[in-house]
Structures are given as structure tokens and as C-alpha cells.
Amino acid sequence: MHVIVNGLSRDVAEKVTVAELLTQLKLRSPQVAVEVNRMVVSRDRHQTHVIKPNDTIEIVTLVGGGSE
């Protein structure tokens, strides 16, 4: 099925969970935060939150920055 991850189109398996998507992307859960359709999916729900077709997913981390 088709989803958007960090602004880019991507095909993923049906009924994939957030945790499974992170594993596929080789991302470590403690160092990222995930938003699906503009709502944070907290870490304790990564295993159970199932991604749906056309979901918009943002995966973020902390980067250097002061202001601006």
C-alpha cells in the first residue's frame, strides 16, 4: 500500500505497524518520534498502531539548533 514518509512516497506491506516500519527503515525507536496524520504515536503504541493506506507519516529526531 502507498504511504508518505517524511514527504516521500513509499510502498509498504498491508497492516504494517509503526514498529515494523521503523525496523524496515533501520531506525532505533528511542531516538525517533513518529507522527501519523499529524498526531504523535507514542512509543508505547508503536507495536499496536497499524498504518493505513495513504497515511502521512513523519519520523523526526533531535538535531543541532539554537534559534531560527
Binding site: 518520534a33 513523519e58 539548533g65 539554537g66 534559534s67
Partner: protein, 278 residues
């Protein structure tokens, strides 16, 4: 530390206690290693970080987190780069989620920044107030970047912000504290009946004297990034900023002499030898 600020009390900020009154950014350093050294030299106990998309293509670069001592430092996530209340709130929630995953005490607060314009990077006051109200209602301790407008500062405090953080001058401009009179009014308004309410100068610091001036005015701390990261020798500047912050704070506690138009002699007038010309 050579000086002994025995009269000083810890900085109380959103339920956290700090000895250092300098909050330092994590951007614009030539390397993560240099950043780590500058953090140590500055003596800071709080560093601010931004929230950005994970790179899904180039995974080779080392993470910022590998260079932050998350056991010693309290991380202050910011909403830098946001131009609407909605985006700032999303960034704040993502920052909270990230920090809670790291088990860092900074999970409960945010440096709120809602910008109005990419050229000046001045805050959008209406959106800033809206975001403050919503984030406070969502349980955040909000450290709020704002302009040096005293009325706006009052409104942000009234909205429940943990700290009001007026800009000394535009972000990254290095112009220092352009309007000390407004900062003094802000301090009077916000601390008048609440002397421990923290007011922090956020942005515009160019060199050590700017930090000292902010602290001498009576601010509780200074947040800076470019002043160190952009210096010719960032590490030496980090040392200078630390000393300036301590010097300014001590000078404020000590109480400066009033400014006078005419001179006042320091030496005794009695006992002078006979003048050559009476």
C-alpha cells in the same frame, strides 16, 4: 571558578534547578566534537535542540545525541523554524516524545518559537500567544521566545508561560541588547510581585559584554547559540561567555553605583600638600 558567588541562589526554571545561568544551542558548530567541548567550557547545564525529519537516505552521519551528555545536561527541545502555532505545537509534542524516550528531564518543557518572517526571524506575537495557551493547557512548561515588548511579555506570562525570553536583538544578529530600557520594564512588570519569575534573554548576543549587560540588568539567564558557534574561536568564546554571565550576575547582586553627571573623588581631600598656585 575563580570567583565565589556565595550570595547567589540556583536558577529555578520550570521545576529544575541549575547553577549555570547560560543556556546554549547546538547548531552551527563546525563539528559535533567542537560543540561538546564548547558546552563543557560554557559550563551550561541546559542545551537547546531542534526537531527535524530523520534522514532516511543518508544514515551514515553520527547522531547529535551521541555528542550530548544526556545524563548531565537537561535538553530543551525548541520549535525553531515554525511559522504557525499549529506547527509549533506539533514540534513541541514530537520533542516531548523524543525526550521521554531518552529519559531526560527535559521532556516536560519546550522553548517555544513562532516566527513571523524569515528575514528578521522576529516572533509572530499573535501566534506565539495562541501556541503558549495551547501548550500550557497540554501540560507543557513553556519557555517563550518573544520580542522585547513589555506588554507582550505580560500577556505571555499571564498565559501561563514558565519563562518569558525576550530577544536582545534579532536571532543571530550579534547586535546585543538593543533596548535595555524595555528589558528593564519587562523585568519590573514580570518580577514586581513575583521576584523569582525567570526572565531570560534569548537571541542577539554577539560577544561576552552582551551577556554581562543582560545579567547586570537583572535577567535570570541568557540563551545563546551563534555568539559561540559563529565566533572565530568558539571554544575560547565559550569560556568568555561563561565568565561574562557570572560577572554580570555578580554585578547585579552586588548593586552598581548610580550614574552621576559629575565626578566624585575617590581619594581623601584632606591632607593635600600646599598647592603651587593658591
Amino acid at each position: 571558578m575563580e570567583t565565589e558567588p556565595s550570595k547567589d541562589t540556583p536558577l529555578l526554571l520550570g521545576g529544575h534547578r541549575f547553577r549555570s545561568r547560560l543556556i546554549v544551542g547546538t547548531g552551527k558548530y563546525a563539528s559535533h566534537d567542537l560543540m561538546r567541548q564548547c558546552h563543557e567550557a560554557s559550563g551550561c547545564e541546559v542545551v537547546t535542540v531542534a526537531v527535524r525529519r530523520e534522514r532516511l537516505i543518508d544514515m551514515e552521519g553520527r547522531s547529535l545525541l551521541e555528542f550530548l551528555d544526556t545524563k548531565r545536561l537537561t535538553i530543551l527541545p525548541n520549535t525553531a523554524g515554525c511559522y504557525s502555532a499549529e506547527d509549533a505545537i506539533r514540534h513541541a509534542r514530537l520533542g516531548r516524545e523524543l525526550l521521554s524516550g531518552l529519559d531526560n528531564p527535559g521532556a516536560d518543557w519546550v522553548k517555544l518559537e513562532v516566527l513571523g518572517d524569515p528575514k528578521t526571524l522576529l516572533p509572530d506575537p499573535v501566534a506565539t500567544l495562541e501556541a503558549t495557551e495551547k501548550l500550557v493547557a497540554d501540560g507543557f512548561k513553556v519557555l517563550c521566545y518573544t520580542s522585547d515588548d513589555p506588554i507582550m511579555a505580560k500577556r505571555i506570562k499571564a498565559a501561563g508561560a514558565t519563562s518569558v525570553m525576550p530577544a536582545g536583538s534579532p536571532i543571530g544578529s550579534g547586535q546585543g541588547v538593543l533596548n535595555p530600557w524595555n528589558i528593564r520594564i519587562i523585568l519590573e512588570y514580570l518580577k514586581g510581585d513575583d521576584p523569582n519569575y525567570p526572565v531570560i534573554i534569548d537571541a542577539g548576543v554577539g560577544t561576552a559584554s552582551d551577556v554581562a549587560i543582560a545579567m547586570e540588568l537583572g535577567c535570570d539567564g541568557v540563551l545563546l547559540n551563534t555568539g559561540i558557534a559563529g565566533a572565530k574561536d568558539p571554544l575560547t568564546m565559550a569560556h568568555a561567555m561563561r565568565r561574562a554571565c557570572e560577572a554580570g550576575r555578580l554585578a547585579n547582586l552586588a548593586g552598581r553605583i548610580p550614574r552621576k553627571l559629575y565626578a566624585t573623588a575617590s581619594s581623601p581631600l584632606d591632607g593635600l600638600i600646599a598647592p603651587a598656585r593658591p
